[in-house]
């Protein structure tokens, strides 16, 4: 199965990217080259294998290393949902492209 020029357009839209026609052509070839290699992976029988989203999940016998082990396996820790940082609006907005009265400016979205 190969990607088509239409796929590139659809993925570019999903990715919020734009490509000139020549760059899109080149990208199509490169992505199809990559997905050729992916084919060998698709053929592997993974029946019954639990997906591994992060390595903490594989650290068997290291339960002290993580917060929570339940019937779904190891879940990642979340901190308490409380305010822990002082207001740093000015520092945080210093690198913003456009700010006015402490608000981030974007192009008009509602007429």
């Amino acid at each position: 199965m190969s990607l088509t020029p239409q796929d590139i357009q659809r993925l570019a839209q999903l990715s919020r990217l734009q490509f000139e026609p020549e760059a899109a052509d080149r990208l199509l070839g490169q992505l199809n080259g990559f997905f050729d290699i992916v084919e060998q992976m698709r053929a592997v029988d993974t029946t019954g294998v639990v997906p591994m989203a992060h390595p903490v999940d594989a650290m068997h016998g290291l339960s002290q290393a993580v917060a929570d082990t339940n019937e779904h396996g190891i879940t990642l820790r979340l901190r308490e949902d409380v305010v822990s940082e002082a207001n740093q609006r000015e520092a945080n907005q210093r690198s913003a492209p456009a700010v006015e009265r402490g608000l981030f400016l974007v192009p008009k979205v509602i007429e």
Partner: protein, 514 residues
């Protein structure tokens, strides 16, 4: 007394404590060496910030409040955010960006007393194996300036090799500490995933990204790692709840008839496992890349020879070499590039031209602003990975690609546990070749991906792993050997490397003219 810039972290630290020289003298020496930015290793330098930190260190040394690494310089990969230096992540997207805070790793190393020399060049968002994806230009290899230094922590490796800094931070997502360390003849370690905080590390692939030190010896790496790691529970949800360790503690294990024996499991010699899949057909311990046949160039003969010589030397030190198997390891390239692309496409969605970073000048509406901003700000490799990520996460393809990759990731991690039932550490090549010529693979992204064949499996599993110099090839370029340990076994891993470095001089070798 040796020249300051030839001293290791351990030597500098000892000399500073004895007041043989001051932190200001040390900083001044390295700043002078950095003048003219050799090898294009640095992206931001502020000598006044560096000198102020050095003077503060001298004061702490004088009044007896010095940290463990007080006054020793370090430079940071430009993927760690810093208040006092610009942070670009090698991207036009973050040109001139100033973070309002320091990364945890940067803070911890400063608290340990280290003086910041500046920010080091790297592949854009740490995506690359040659450092040619930096928006600010490539880094050259100090051993041969027509060659790449490796990537993505290429500036870090080149700066340490050229003695522009005694140590550097790096990050390793799929080999980005180990491979440039190998290509530049230095030592680098990626700890167990979750040991070092990811807070303030510009995110590429969150389930893989891990910080680690790059320096000239295992001894130095152990000192640096002890200062860098530790729980950061409120700021990184994958930070491990394990007390930090003194990673140097096993370095001094006394040498007997079998000096390596003490590093292994109780009551026997150290067992070094060599994956069968990384072996060549001919020799007893020869290596061959298991990359897909279509593109496989195999592993360079010179690298195979250095591996054989190194393992033979380990045997003479009392280690046993055993064969182990990593049957799914050859699938690491598609699995890794699907997982990291998926995570990258999600992580990089934050670059929208609104809150920080680049914003396009000309656009028609909000959507067009997003698209123009991102198209102008990101380089080709970053765009490729975002596109792959969008594809493998999209409706109808998720199960076949992303979920399947996560399942094989589990199989690869399980294979390592089976292997570690038979050995204490796993040894293998870092890369199928030594550093290639600048531009050689620049137009061929797939060729870059395939060169990661030996570093990706340990990354996917989240295991601690390192690269140590084991000699040069026939054209004088450094060869690295990879050592992989089981989870949280960094201290043993560093012992194994340190033992080797005590009886060899490969890690002392330096590029001509340095």
């Amino acid at each position: 007394m040796a020249d300051l810039h030839h001293m290791t972290v351990a030597e500098l630290s000892a000399g500073l404590k004895k007041k043989d020289f001051s932190a200001a003298e040390v900083a001044t020496r390295f700043l002078a060496r950095m003048g003219g930015n050799p090898h294009h290793a640095f992206l931001d330098i502020h000598s006044e910030v560096t000198l102020a930190q050095a003077l503060a260190s001298d004061e702490k040394i004088a009044n007896g409040t010095a940290g463990p690494l007080e006054g020793v310089p370090i430079a940071h990969k430009d993927i760690f955010v810093t208040k006092d230096f610009v942070t670009t992540a090698g991207s036009k997207m973050l040109k001139d960006y100033r973070s309002p805070f320091d990364a945890t790793v940067v803070t911890k190393l400063r608290e340990a007393g280290m003086v910041n020399l500046g920010k080091l060049n790297c592949d854009e968002f740490a995506m690359g194996s040659a450092n040619e994806n930096s928006a600010y230009g490539a880094v050259t290899n100090p051993w041969d300036t027509t060659r790449i230094p490796g990537g993505s922590s290429g500036g870090s490796a080149a700066a340490v090799a050229a003695r522009l800094t005694p140590a550097a931070t790096g990050t390793d997502t799929g080999g980005s500490i180990r491979q440039p360390a190998a290509f530049c003849g230095i030592t680098g370690i990626k700890p167990t995933y979750g040991r070092a905080s990811r807070y303030g590390m510009v995110a590429f692939a969150s389930s893989l990204d891990q910080a680690g030190p790059m320096a000239r010896s295992a001894e130095d790496c152990a000192m640096l790692l002890s200062a860098m790691c530790g729980p950061d529970l409120d700021r990184d949800s994958t930070s491990l709840i394990v007390a930090n360790e003194d990673f140097s503690r096993l370095l001094a294990v006394p040498a007997g008839d079998k000096p390596l024996a003490t590093a292994g499991k109780e009551g026997g010699a150290l067992k070094i496992g060599v994956p069968r899949e990384w072996l060549g057909s001919g020799s007893q311990i020869a290596f061959e890349s298991n990359a897909p046949a279509r593109r496989s160039e195999g592993t360079d003969k010179e690298i195979q020879r250095r591996m054989e010589e190194t393992l033979t030397l380990y045997q003479s030190l009392g280690a046993d070499i055993v064969h182990v198997s990593l049957p799914q390891a050859h699938l690491c390239i598609p699995v890794y590039y699907i997982v990291c692309a998926a995570e990258a496409s999600s992580n990089l969605s934050r670059f929208d031209g609104v809150k920080f970073g680049h914003r396009a000048k000309n656009f028609t509406d909000l959507a067009d602003m997003y698209e123009k901003t991102r198209s102008e700000g990101f380089g080709d490799e970053v765009k490729r990975r975002i596109m792959i990520g969008s594809y493998v996460l999209s409706h109808g393809y998720y199960d076949a690609y992303y979920l399947q990759a996560q399942k094989i990731r589990r199989m690869i991690a399980d294979d390592f546990q089976t292997a570690f039932a038979q050995c204490d550490v796993i040894a293998g090549p870092v890369a199928p070749t030594t550093a290639w010529q600048l531009g050689d693979k620049a137009a061929d992204p797939l060729a870059n991906y395939l060169a990661d064949i030996f570093t990706l499996p340990a990354s996917l599993a989240g295991l601690p792993c390192m690269s140590i110099p084991v000699g040069l090839d026939d054209i004088g370029m450094p060869v690295g050997m990879q050592l992989i340990g089981n989870y949280l076994q960094e201290a043993s891993l560093l012992n194994v490397a340190h033992r080797f470095q005590q009886v060899t001089a490969f890690h002392h070798a330096k590029p001509e003219g340095v």
